[in-house]
Amino acid sequence: MDQWIIASEFAEVAVSLDTEANGPRLRLTDLRGGRVRYLDALELEALAWLPDERMRELLDPSAGRWSDGRRDG
């Protein structure tokens, strides 16, 4: 399985193509937090078309991993 590491001083994520399911998926592994997420073709297409404003919202630490009242991450 080919794997690429996309890393900066802010984050390190391993990216690979997963073929274990009925169709191909992109496997993302947050190498610092250990979290794994799969993205299918439609989700990737949605990301490609995601307006910058929405991406900015996702980058808000309180938008997910570090939101008040949530235990994940």
Binding site: S8, E9, F10, A11, D52, R56, L59, D60, P61, S62, A63, R65, W66, S67, D68, G69
Partner: protein, 416 residues
């Protein structure tokens, strides 16, 4: 105590305290480095959206970024929360930056994107904070300049005649663009920054300081600064100065002599330039690159670019890289090797100069004589057809121009 610059800076001499007094250095930061236009880097260092590099304007840690819309920003590397450094790496690609201390996150334009556990601040978007931005950023021939003053002369006004020298550098590229992509070397010198600036267009020292290099390499450079040379030193105004070697190169009349080579060594480049420029190619290939000191910190020495960064009254870092000409790979290999040979870690030119900077600083610890002499060539200066003061190749015309402009900045009533 207020410093009387008119007493310390006289037409033919300058006082030693200008290089050694910490209070003068502190005033220089306010009145020059955090006010006038200072060269920070080059647009080619952040060629793609998300690219960033860390830079310095004197003591200010600055992040140069390129956003998705292509705009270059200069951000202060200081989190708006607790003042932590936001970026640690010297370069990278990231559209946003997250402070490692508490996770505050910013777009690479400085805009705040958010902070963890936002209920502690009353929710999302409750803080009107962001990374500090250098108030004015502008570019010329890809060179990126910063001014910490919200208003003042434009970059074009600041550059004045020095802009033409940057044009002359860019026209050596078949695509008309310089690139500074070879990486930077940082040379730390225990010397005041002005000693470096003055030395850059001092044509009096090469035959002494660099004599051994010229003799082993058979270089003709020393002759360009002899008393018989037709080259000139020019005060370009605004504190800028140049050693204009073109009269000598025109006299020799051979393409690529400025580069210490012949056209047979770079045939593809020469052919491409002739195809592009026709008859004018000969002028470009004969006259070559400029040797210009752009006030206060950008020095183009034909094949190398220097950005001078003061760190203390007696310490300066010289950031050095090779000129790279877009669309000229044949030239770029040679430019890089010549640059490394002259100003690299084991380079033969900058090592000589650095020794002189540091000896200079140490020498000035002696109490007498109190002054440094800058009168060389006063009696034989003339004004050229463009109104610029011109001296012989080894005269101190450039230094006098530097000090005149320095004094005007340091004496400004509204400087604080």
């Amino acid at each position: 105590m207020t410093v009387q610059y008119s007493e310390l800076i006289q037409p033919e001499r300058v006082h030693g305290s200008l290089y050694t007094d910490p209070s003068i250095f502190a005033e220089e930061l306010d009145r020059i480095w955090y006010r006038t236009w200072v060269c920070v880097g080059h647009a080619s260092e952040v060629a793609r959206p998300g690219d960033y590099v860390r830079k310095k304007v004197a003591a200010q840690d600055v992040i140069m970024t390129r956003s998705t819309d292509g705009e270059i920003s200069l951000l202060l590397n200081r989190c708006a929360h607790r003042g932590n450094l936001v970026c640690e790496d010297e370069r990278g690609n990231s559209g946003s930056f997250r402070c490692p201390y508490h996770g505050w996150t910013y777009r690479n334009t400085g805009e705040m994107l958010g902070y963890p556990y936002n209920q502690g601040y009353g929710g999302k978007g409750k803080l009107s904070l962001g990374l500090g931005r250098v108030p004015r950023v502008d570019t010329y021939q890809g060179f990126v300049f910063a001014s910490f003053a919200a208003d003042g002369p434009s970059l074009k006004e600041h550059l004045g005649a020095a802009a033409g020298e940057l044009d002359r550098l860019a026209r050596l590229s078949p695509e008309g663009e310089v690139e500074l992509t070879a990486g930077w070397l940082k040379h730390r010198a225990k010397a005041n920054w002005k000693l470096l600036v003055e030395n850059e267009t001092d044509g009096y020292h090469p035959q002494f300081v660099h004599g051994s290099v010229f003799s082993v390499t058979g270089s003709h450079i020393g002759n360009l600064y002899s008393d018989k040379s037709t080259a000139v030193t020019r005060d370009l105004g605004g504190g800028h100065s140049e050693n204009d070697l073109r009269p000598e190169f025109r006299r020799m009349g051979t393409p690529m002599t400025w580069f210490g080579t012949s056209e047979a060594k770079v045939p593809e480049y020469v052919a491409k330039m002739r195809e592009l420029h026709g008859k004018q190619a000969e002028e470009i290939l004969i006259e070559g690159a400029p040797h210009v000191m752009v006030f206060p910190n950008l020095f183009v020495a034909e094949i190398s670019v220097f950005m001078i960064q003061p760190t203390a009254v007696d310490e300066t870092v010289q950031n050095v890289t090779a000129v790279q000409l877009k669309g000229a790979p044949e030239m770029n290999r040679r430019l890089l090797s010549q640059c490394v040979g002259s100003v690299g870690p084991a380079g033969m030119l900058l090592a000589d100069d650095s020794e002189m900077y540091e000896r200079n600083q140490r020498g000035m610890a002696a109490r007498m004589p109190e002054w440094l002499d800058i009168r060389r060539g006063v009696g034989r200066e003339r004004v050229d057809e463009n109104g610029f003061r011109v001296g012989a190749a080894n005269d101190e015309t450039g230094m006098r121009g530097f000090w005149s402009h320095y004094r005007s900045l340091m004496e400004r009533e509204d400087a604080r």
